[in-house]
């Protein structure tokens, strides 16, 4: 919580407390102005700023992993094998560790568009009121766009032999017709079912 938001909440609470204890102050013009500020203007502003802060906080990896069902996905980031795409990205700081989930799943759950946000609320409902599925699947196949945010235009990506194997390979990748996660390409991701069989990075401070 930022200092500005703390200040805003504190000032609003102080005004409200004063109005609660001495509502008679609204007989004066100054008191009516304070009531307008304390009951209407500042709380509306505090709510908008608070909402924005909540959405911003939902990008944190800690937020995603706070649900028990997501714990294995967090653990998978410590797999000691460079072939595992999420683990190697997090361990080598290719993505911000604090926002690792959000960086690669930008349209997912609470941080996507309105449809994704409704989906995120559904996840919460299923997690607490229903029966979460044994296997968590993405709603749609993973979009190459999330990879190309960083890799698009990069020399290592553009000049890779595998990416330029045929005349159409690169076009197909960029048009999301050929998935980066295709079998034989970058198909090792979280692999949560086999975590206990995989070697973990011992010195991980993730």
């Amino acid at each position: 919580m930022g200092i500005e938001l703390v200040g805003l909440l504190a000032i609003t609470a102080a005004l409200l407390l004063a109005l609660l204890l001495r509502p008679g102050m609204t007989r004066e013009r100054g008191g009516r102005v304070l009531a307008f500020l304390g009951i209407l203007l500042l709380p509306s502003l505090a709510f908008a700023v608070g909402f924005s802060a909540h959405v911003e906080r939902s990008k944190k990896r800690e937020f995603c992993l706070s649900c028990h069902i997501m714990e294995p996905y967090g653990k998978s980031l410590a797999i000691d094998d460079d072939e595992y795409v999420p683990a190697s990205h997090v361990q080598n700081n290719r993505v911000h560790r604090d926002e690792a989930c959000f960086t690669c799943h930008t349209t997912y759950a609470l941080y996507g568009d309105i449809k994704a946000k409704i989906g995120g609320l559904r996840h919460i409902a299923v997690n607490y009121l229903g029966a979460p599925p044994d296997t968590i699947r993405l709603y749609k196949p993973y979009n190459n766009r999330e990879c190309l945010h960083c890799h698009g235009g990069a020399r290592s990506f553009e000049s890779s032999d595998a990416h330029t194997e045929t005349d159409t390979t690169m076009t197909a990748i960029k048009a999301n017709r050929l998935s980066c996660m295709s079998s034989g390409c970058h198909d090792l991701v979280h692999d949560v079912r086999n975590l206990d069989k995989l070697e973990m990075w011992k010195g991980a401070r993730l």
Binding site: A13, L16, L19, L20, G24, R27, S44, F47, H54, K60
Partner: protein, 69 residues
């Protein structure tokens, strides 16, 4: 101690509701969990919204002819 006018009682109720909403917001922002967002968006918004409605109704009733404010 002076008796409160009806508009003052309503303003006090509005202030109490909004204060409750602000308290919910402050607590929810201390906890990093999806449920804290739900509590903020549902109960916090409800309390703040209800307080604002009570306040606006108090103002409207306060300026109606024949009603004291």
């Amino acid at each position: 101690m002076n008796a409160l006018l009806p508009i003052e009682r309503r303003i006090r109720l509005a202030a109490a509701l909004v204060l409750l909403g602000i308290a919910i917001e402050a607590v929810s922002l201390r906890i990093l969990h999806p449920l804290s967002f739900v509590v903020f968006a549902a109960f916090g918004a409800l309390a703040i919204g209800a307080g604002i409605v009570v306040y606006l109704l108090a103002l409207l009733r306060g300026v109606e002819p024949g009603k004291g404010a």
